[in-house]
Point group: C2
Chain length 510, copies 2
């Protein structure tokens, strides 16, 4: 039914895939049994040796028909399983079976979003998904942009830079960024479409932050100065380096949140133009910067505002937690990441922009993909939707998840993990052997064995890792090292967390 | 067995996945039947409408339990199927069922390659795959670097830039770039490891070219000037813009290949430092630049050399075609792309570097991922392996493919499509109604209806696209517009191609 060279699509595709998928599921089962825990025991050298032994020569002259089973089993045997309640260090979610299954269709059909004739339907699906999520961020579900900007006292939209590219002429006679001129966008009034929220799909928060900086550079010039809190994600510094911008200015974040007064001081002292990057959900502690105050400071200084909501963005789906994001809709650009509080397999990043017109600078031409006469003849031009060229539709798994669970279903998952973190924090607080850093904002809890030195905190984490018993995170806050639990698993129960605490207690060096 | 919120991994994962995968396979089957051809009929507006009607509200308040089936079927119904012999425009390959099935394991376990404790085994697997492919490029299968550099008369390795980052101390007392200090690399002699070939996994040729430019910028300074042929991939220009570099200098490529004499002139006229980018397999015509001559010109001028072998890189697996890549091993950096002649689902890009030490500049620190005390205690530091942070192991599907097929199996697929292109070119050549541009180098054939105007050539392509009957490419060469067939489907038979030619003949406007 399936040979090593069978193709995944075409009429025989599903039939060739079926037995291979069975092999994969069996190998995943076997590997998990061999692993016996949240991660393999033995530490890096032993795990690497196990993988090397299983794989042998990865590129032999003659093939090995059993390689699928062998390599997948080895992957599972040596994985840190995010669905294990004791695997709780990072913003590393256990994906939904639904999203995982959906992604198989993408792999099989291999649509590539660099031209319409490689992804006729997928390109429209992407427009639907990004439009819906962008409207969610900017709170314009009903379709007409809320005047969030004016309400926040922000200046009118800045003009886009000189590099602004040729634009497509849509049916209504108004200009729409070319990449969005196909499908849904084309059928809306052009000027409304230009001012409407839009989003790009990215490989994750890191690329989203990078594109946000790029858009700021193109809108405000290469002299734009990035200003962010000491609590911001490391990818912002890296993006500034990548794009050839000046070293960012770091504003203190004394309690883990960007201090608006310190931001005001920094913007006053520093010649502009400025791009301020705030964080909604820090990696270390899940703290949301005070967005309304930051919006006001940016407005006063005419600074552009980016919000990295890679972690907290998922709160948009929860009626109970959504208010923590008040002010988000006044940002120019917003990073989202559905491989965190969205339960997608990596990658599922987004960059939402308040006005689609902002994306015009990404327009790019390559004759073989979007020749002018093809675009004029009605073939949608997709190249401006990304900095990548070949690009898989990560929108499919996202679409299937959004539609199967709905806002309410996703909101419930968000609430499960945030509520779970509150329960764990209470447990830590009431335990005489532990110190709690603070009540959680999102689903991250920082704690440490009472009276332990930093070295002991670092050591217990490494011991549990090396023994294959738990994956805990770490964070330095208020000058001390803390253990970190990032709850992204909606199936984790209070009992699991109580057992985790006992495990830490029993393994802390005295 | 599976609820909307079931997780893909953990003990229940494989059981939750099984029925969902059946749903996906059924929906793929149904969608293909509804599509009835290589792509859906009706053109962009009709296809978009069909997708919108199928999906409805993509983010409803309450979920829809049938969304997986509905959305996947719509994707298949509106896809351009790369396994259809008439879908032959782009470097858009039909993936192997094997690679597609393997990738399911990655989606389910969701290892993330930004830290060891999210991807204990996957990080070693990536090191194995990238090492094997880098040695393939630089022809050092046996393990000891061939002195290709000296043989080509190139200067000794340049020193890496000032930004060179702290390096890990390996067991042998020598320095190894940190990201490669774990696993296999650690166990080799440090100095040998620094000089040995290495590779990064990327999202595709575009990112590989971008990183190649970044490495050149860091090694030679921000004043480095990119010089490439008029036949080079558009992503090089875009990468220079992204990285804040000067506008690249474009050297004529009169017959579709970079002219070494013109390159020599350009380098003589232009103050350095220079980065020359050559192409092994142009997108338009599949032409390989004269690499040995370009290597010599670069050596004479002390220019750094990047080769974009996104397309032709697959020839490394074929004993019959490998010689077309002579000179490749003298490049500093090489772009590969196994979602072209490697039959992987997107993404499967690589950037190979002649010396691992070149990658040191990508080192990056984030306390929660690679704190110094953790690295010193032996936890591998992965951040320097990519510009991304969260990152799925695309190495798994590649590993399964390399090992299942072996060099010989992959070489056979490469030969099938290259031979197929030769057969098609002969067919065109012998047909009185068509003009052949040239004999194919790789698997791309340019042709046009004899005596047709450019407008007619463009029109027949769009007609076949709109009618859902064929996906052909286009390219402008020697001042005229040509139809392009890019053969990446090893299952395409001579009969298919004869029928395609008849189809074009019957639809060319007179």
């Amino acid at each position: 039914m399936s040979t090593p060279a069978s193709l995944a699509s075409g009429p025989e595709g599903p039939h060739a895939l079926r037995p291979l998928l069975d092999t994969v599921l069996d190998a995943l089962d076997e590997g998990a049994l061999l692993r016996r825990g949240p991660l393999p025991a033995g530490g890096p050298d032993a795990v690497a040796a196990r993988m090397r032994a299983a794989v042998g020569d990865v590129l032999p002259d003659r093939g090995d028909p059993n390689a699928l089973h062998t390599v997948v089993r080895a992957l599972a045997e040596t994985a840190a399983d995010p669905a294990d309640p004791f695997c709780t260090a990072h913003l590393h979610c256990p994906p939904l079976a639904l999203a995982t299954a959906a992604d198989l269709a993408v792999c099989a059909l291999n649509p590539s979003l660099d031209s319409w004739d490689q992804a006729p339907g997928a390109s429209e699906l992407e427009a639907l998904v990004t439009g819906a999520l962008a409207r969610e961020v900017f709170d314009v579900r009903a379709g007409s942009p809320r005047e969030a900007a004016d309400a926040a006292g922000r200046p009118a939209r800045e003009a886009v830079g000189d590099r602004a590219a040729p634009e497509a002429f849509d049916g209504a006679g108004a200009l729409v960024p070319k990449a969005f001129a196909g499908g849904a966008a084309r059928r809306r009034d052009g000027d409304t479409a230009r001012q409407a929220p839009a989003a790009l799909i990215t490989t994750g928060g890191t690329e989203s932050n990078q594109v946000a900086l790029l858009l700021a550079r193109e809108a405000r010039g290469a002299g734009v100065r990035l200003v962010h809190g000491a609590n911001a994600h490391h990818s912002l510094q890296r993006a500034a380096w990548l794009l050839g911008l000046a070293e960012p200015v770091v504003v203190p974040a004394p309690a883990g949140a960007l201090d608006p007064a310190a931001l005001d001081e920094a913007l006053t002292a520093l010649p502009g133009p400025h791009l301020v990057a705030a964080t909604a959900g820090t990696t270390d502690a899940g703290i949301v910067d005070p967005l309304p105050e930051i919006v006001a400071v940016c407005a006063a200084h005419g600074a552009r505002l980016h919000v990295d909501a890679a972690y907290a963005g998922g709160l948009l789906f929860s009626d109970r937690y959504r208010d923590l994001l008040a002010g988000l809709d006044a940002a120019d650009t917003v990073t989202l990441d559905l491989h965190k509080l969205g339960w997608q397999p990596v990658a599922a990043g987004l960059l939402a922009v308040r006005a689609a017109a902002d994306l015009t600078v990404l327009h790019h031409r390559a004759d073989y993909l979007n020749a002018d006469d093809d675009t004029e003849a009605g073939l949608p031009d997709l190249l401006g939707r990304s900095l990548r060229t070949s690009r898989r539709p990560d929108a499919l798994k996202i679409a299937v998840t959004l539609k199967t669970l709905g806002r309410s279903g996703l909101g419930r998952l968000v609430e499960q993990v945030c509520d779970g973190a509150r329960g764990f924090a209470a447990l830590v607080h009431d335990h005489p052997g532990f110190e709690l850093h603070d009540r959680p904002t999102l689903s991250t809890v920082l704690f440490r064995p009472a009276h332990a030195a930093d070295d002991a905190v670092a050591a217990v984490r490494r011991t549990l890792l090396t023994d294959g018993r738990a994956v805990l995170g770490r964070a330095r806050m208020d000058g001390r090292l803390w253990l970190k639990v990032t709850l992204l698993n909606p199936r984790t129960r209070p009992d699991d967390l109580a057992a985790l605490l006992t495990l830490v207690e029993g393994n802390t060096p005295r």
